[in-house]
Symmetry: D2
Subunit: 381 residues, 4 copies
């Protein structure tokens, strides 16, 4: 597929995700961690404008002088910006103006792509991968925000459930393994440098934990026994009024689950979603197992199927040996987040097509649950 086609395909997918939204929904932001759909649509556009068009398209005029303030996410090198918890307050520019902004930038990008040098092609590829990341966030953020509405709105056809086969243990031998990306296609800087890691022997589960298994943990008092939990996890539990995964609600004695297609009965055979690292670890401890490290996961991943849930690992998000931060604002993409977060591997039902690979490192703080996060067990041998 030509770069232009790729560009058009990714860009139109973002718009397509919003096709069932009301204008009202576009500004919705229920907490600091999530962003409104309109902001995602504008921010990904700003990324192309500020990092590519402004520098590489001769004579390019920015669409609006204040959009740099409004739609910068976290790049300190790009100047001041709207506070993260106030993105939902930007009712202006209107949704229609954001679509005009997208069209304006797309037009300029089409021009630039005709004749783009390798350096620019690399940046465009980064911009498209960046937009794909925001496509997943647009979905998960919107789910989180809409969940606050007692009317249980249904706005998207994501197939959230996926039935898990019965799990068995897969053994992996000790040895030196190569970790990280070493191909010729795009990867993020945090997947580099490819390097060697020694692994002691371990086993890993062939399937993800299901809703039914997690319900057993709950029913056997998992949320009442401190010994399964990290100390911070236990504090977190004490502060929860509801002891269950995010989006679960017991109605008339029956567990239900809020999806983007509305509230559903809980499917016990389907893979669990929306637990945080503390819950994932506590479940594993209750099972007499543990979470895999990200290295174990990467080494073993060819032996099981994955892609429906982001899988919590017991690895902290840290730089690989030889990792280096790019100069300029794009150096802020990954490196500055490498503390206090845990790595998730795999991909989810909300991940954009062509946006996953075995070396991909996703990362979140241990308390967060709003991504499609699940559990795969491991054991030392």
């Amino acid at each position: 597929m030509s770069l232009l086609k790729q560009y058009q395909s990714v860009r139109s997918h973002s718009v397509n995700l919003c096709k069932n939204l009301l204008i009202e929904d576009f500004s919705l932001q229920a907490s600091e961690e999530v962003s409104p759909p309109k902001w995602h649509l504008a921010h990904t556009t700003w990324f192309f404008e500020q990092f590519i068009l402004v520098n590489y398209l001769k004579g390019y005029q920015v669409k609006h002088p204040q959009f740099n303030f409004l739609f910068n996410s976290y790049y300190n090198a790009m100047g001041r910006r709207t506070a993260r918890n106030q993105r939902g307050l930007m009712t202006r520019p209107a949704v229609s103006e954001v679509f005009e902004y997208r069209a304006y930038v797309d037009e300029a990008m089409s021009q630039l792509i005709q004749d783009a040098k390798e350096e620019v092609v690399k940046l465009i590829t980064l911009g498209l991968n960046h937009e794909q990341q925001h496509q997943e966030l647009l979905i998960t953020d919107l789910k989180y925000s809409l969940w606050h509405n007692p009317l249980d709105p249904a706005v998207m056809d994501i197939q959230e459930y996926s039935i898990e086969a019965k799990s068995h243990w897969i053994d992996v031998k000790e040895g030196i393994y190569e970790i990280g990306y070493s191909g010729n296609e795009f990867c993020f800087d945090n997947e580099l440098k490819a390097h060697r890691v020694f692994l002691e022997p371990f086993s890993i589960a062939s399937s993800l934990v299901t809703n039914g298994e997690y319900l057993e943990f709950m029913d056997s008092g998992g949320y009442e026994e401190s010994r399964f939990w990290h100390d911070e996890g236990w504090s977190w539990v004490q502060n929860q009024s509801q002891k269950a995964p995010l989006y679960w609600e017991e109605i008339d004695g029956k567990w239900t689950y809020y999806t983007l297609a509305g509230r559903k009965d809980l499917d016990l055979e389907a893979s669990l979603a929306h637990v945080n690292f503390y819950e994932a670890s506590a479940f594993a401890a209750w099972k007499g197992a543990r979470l895999p490290t990200e290295f174990e996961w990467e080494v073993a991943q060819s032996k099981f199927s994955w892609g429906k849930r982001w899988e919590w690992t017991n690895s902290a998000y840290l730089p690989y040996p030889g990792f280096s931060i790019a100069p300029g604002a794009l150096g802020e993409y990954n490196g500055k987040f490498m503390v206090n977060q845990m790595v998730l591997r795999g991909a989810s039902v909300a991940t954009s097509e062509n946006h996953s690979r075995p070396t991909y490192r996703n990362f979140f703080h241990p308390q967060f649950r709003w991504q499609f996060m699940g559990i795969r067990l491991a054991k030392s041998l």
Copy 2:
């Protein structure tokens, strides 16, 4: 004017206030204290539905079973409700559905009004006064929320400025005066019972404090001298990054002021707005004067013109002798707020027509500034 005409007039005014809004603006809520326009439109409608139609219109079906949860403001007796700081998250029902809700209730009310007994007429009159209160809040809340947008949106034609004549002192003699409402028209319960108050002699200013006068206070170091301030006011000052009234901003050495018609140069002759009780008191102390009590204000008000600014008094919001709380949910209207708030008297440029009188008692916590709050000075003689 017939009750039906009155009803239609008040109800259509609410809608009319929103005529320049984008759909996006209807859900905007920048802090817990302010509510989105859509919520005001729905809540005032809910008030007629729950307090009148449900009880008095035979066969009336509520529009939607969850609207009681969504649009109750603070009536504990009416059951659980949306958290106040989450009103902006209710993107559904859509704006169009809220307008349908209004039409549905208006239709039923028209029927009921045909043949309303006195008890119902009284409730309808209360409902209309309630809606007028929310009309003012709709304006001031919206101003506050839009102010967070760096694009300085202009959405309404409120004539915010009003030029003040030079002030002189008006003397009032000591004596026993009657305070509170004693007429035959509508008043709120907090204006009752009419009772007697003894006042020592005092003087009151014929005009409100202007922007220019307040700027003198600022320029002479008013925000840097603790001795003018209440202890809590001084703490408040320490936590402010900007030492100026709300909506003021110094741009290139010139003071500007955000209005609902966009940002304007500060008019030094116009009456000051958007100061809190602490600022009002500190200004008065700096001037060697004080704020009037609400009783002094009520006694003196026939001797000066008022109506452009809510005027801070030095009276706490407390019950009048013989005040009693109505049974049922409507008893929550006023009485339960009678602690930690200060009384404001008068009316403002945002007050609905026919919604002011000399005995009207408005009240806010001393730190709030987002109403059109101004200062009138007084002195003991």
Copy 3:
């Protein structure tokens, strides 16, 4: 009694209050609102040093250059000071050094008193009244701090209980009454100026509410019914784990009460203590009565006995007509606190001898309970 004798009597009483304390107890501070005994002992001494000795005793050398920083309470005009919530961190100067400080200042004061002019006598009288206020706080603060200790320490012989006679209503006629202090002895500035107030007719209870009566309120669901409560009171209730007065604890089905002499069974005949304004108001509403205003209390007080509990009134703490703030730091004594607090009248079992009078105005924020605060009911006629 000569001024010197008075001085010695008040000063030694402060020390005497601490006679059963361990050295460890002198620095104890369980919350921002309360201060450690050592701090009270030092601060009252600092008051004499900074407001009197430094200005009026020729050649006086301050005891230590940093004591002004350490022991200033809230006087902005006297410079920077230890944060209020860090008073308990000042383990140095040692307790013994604070006693030396007291002796040093007492010695200098004795000298000054020999030959004090009227201006100085007035300041000394203020200093002694100030120290008496801190004597009460020393007791109530210490009770609050020690209560956090599960060992229920007993350290003082305050007779906290006092049996109430059966109450009857006392009627008072409408009329113009004089309020405020008009004698020739000492009073605080907030008791001035004496002025006239018109009162509508009312009744007031001859006795205080007892523990037994309050228990009836609790047992009849008083803490579960929002209609008895102010809106802020109701929020306060929701955040309480224990729905009972401060220091009450139900142990094995029996109510107990922590006193400075250790934990005791609750005496149902004794006057209630340690409720806040919200609780006092809710109790009154439940009884179909209300709290008196401070004016009603002052007018009626000669008709009942008082002095065991500070009695919540329904009056906000506001300046009297003609109230003026003294120049300099002492002007900060009272005036700057006149917002968001409620007046309490009377005196308590912890009030120092000769430190009460009918015009005395005590004041606290409505949520506080750690003083010996009780309830007297009133009614409009």
Copy 4:
């Protein structure tokens, strides 16, 4: 040395550390993270009582029924406990009673030690290592608490400064290395199991960063440039009023440093202390280097001298392969803290004698600075 001698030696060292304290100092607690000296003295004693005497000394009577509540630190399995931020409020039991408690338990332990089986010897050894950990905390907590006192108290003779030799790079080759404890003496469970790690080649500095070098970082704008910082580190910087290591203060243009022996001039040649992980990382980035991993540190440590500062590594505190949690309350010792903390290696001037080894893993949250934390640089080759 016999076990009894060891026991006596460790126990008396705790007491000896307090020899210059005033009684007042024993309850001092300036924040939730630090504990008062008295609490350390009692908690370490409680550890022997609850984990050893109660289970292994026949007929042992606990000293006081509530000490289990008062002196439990974080063992959920041992029941409820005093809130961590209220340890300073326990003025009772008195200091003298805590010393009696120590004597009582020491007496019983002497008895038990006569005839202790291997299982008990192991627990005693754990108890002694536990007490040594608290000896270091007693020192660092006390320093932190006393620092809040403007009198700069001097209470201990810790030689805080240590001059660093000029640093050079030490190269280490790639390879499989063994990590973790494999000897026969005592180690903590977090040092197990010994396992293999593959390291890519790297260099590590022979000396620690000095105060002088850190001052260069400060003077060159290190705290003003976001690009050196983690995102969370940058937020932390924004909220600091003083941009310098803990305990530094610029007085009359000269940097000073608070030590337990009082405030001193900053020694530029001495090893830096009291920076957090964010500062350590930012300094390293500014130098074009990075922090070592804990594995690199352990492999290289025989090639440089260490022991004056805890050295931040870029390793998160996570379990080693095969790590397992002991059953019962002692299983809470380490494992439950393995999230959101970073590993520090080495030892410090406050570490007790015989309480350090190359495999020792200390750990703290990245924002903390009150331990003697320093920086050693590393580089990938």
